[in-house]
Point group: C2
Chain length 189, copies 2
Amino acid sequence: MGINKYEEIAQAAIKLFERKGYHATSVQDIADEVGLQKGSLYHYISSKEELLMKITQQSINGFNRRMEKIIESQVSSKDKLILAIQHHVTYVARNMEMTTVLLREAFSLEPDHHKVIKEETDRYLKLWTTIIDEGVQADEFKPGDSRLIALAILGSANWLHRWYQEGGKMTPEEIGNYFAQIFLEGIKK
Amino acid sequence: MGINKYEEIAQAAIKLFERKGYHATSVQDIADEVGLQKGSLYHYISSKEELLMKITQQSINGFNRRMEKIIESQVSSKDKLILAIQHHVTYVARNMEMTTVLLREAFSLEPDHHKVIKEETDRYLKLWTTIIDEGVQADEFKPGDSRLIALAILGSANWLHRWYQEGGKMTPEEIGNYFAQIFLEGIKK
């Protein structure tokens, strides 16, 4: 029950932070959303900052966890990159509000917390450059700047949180496949 | 003098909105930054919202203006796309704080203002899909979903505002060229 209530509070916070922004959301707003007195809410959380930290951490951990499995899988670098792009695109599309909070609001975290999130996002970027570097070594990809390539792909995939709409003509999986095709083959005839 | 002071206020607002966020920045903060009393600041601006609107409008107008010139230029679609990517990347890199305010804070605008910015960003996206559609018709690009391709490119180029650092090993022009190459040729060998 305690855990469910906490999860309910976190979900309410994600929704409010996404819609109104972190700074414009008060602890009172969150209490109202879950039907608690502000005093009772503090039995579950110590601060709004703590909630933002938990949400951003959960979000970046979700990105990292699956990516680590992809890195370890026994497939070609090309297939790893396709899986990675599919993963990132579908994770954004299925967690739109949480991704928006991570990408737009993490800068509001206190320096110590922000540092933790920064380290996790750096680790995520490193997993991407590893796949690309391995692909170059395996002669599957052209020699290039793996960090810039990873940042180009991540930018495209992150941007989804600004335009993706459920029920559109393409599923997240189809968008992921299409993005993978663009980055692998290019658009020039 | 009035215009210069207004410009100084706008610059201070861009800096503060970028660093602290729009909601966390008070009119008092802006007044302090330019060395005015809060009451005097209101001789120049009517509200914080007005400042955010002017800043986001200036930003999206900058993106649109050059893009319209590129569309009209007498070069191949491939060269237009290269110019467009170079333009977007360099504009982000040279206006990092203003781009961050546009991309991260525009959602805080009042609905009427937000609608204007949304229309201008839609117009910008349309300029991109036009180049891509023309390139497909001219047999320069593979047939494809021009909106998705444009969103992929814009995502990559926008993301620069999160990682670009002046004085890095590549100039904005070089990054733009590299991104253009990735999107045109792909990374697969």
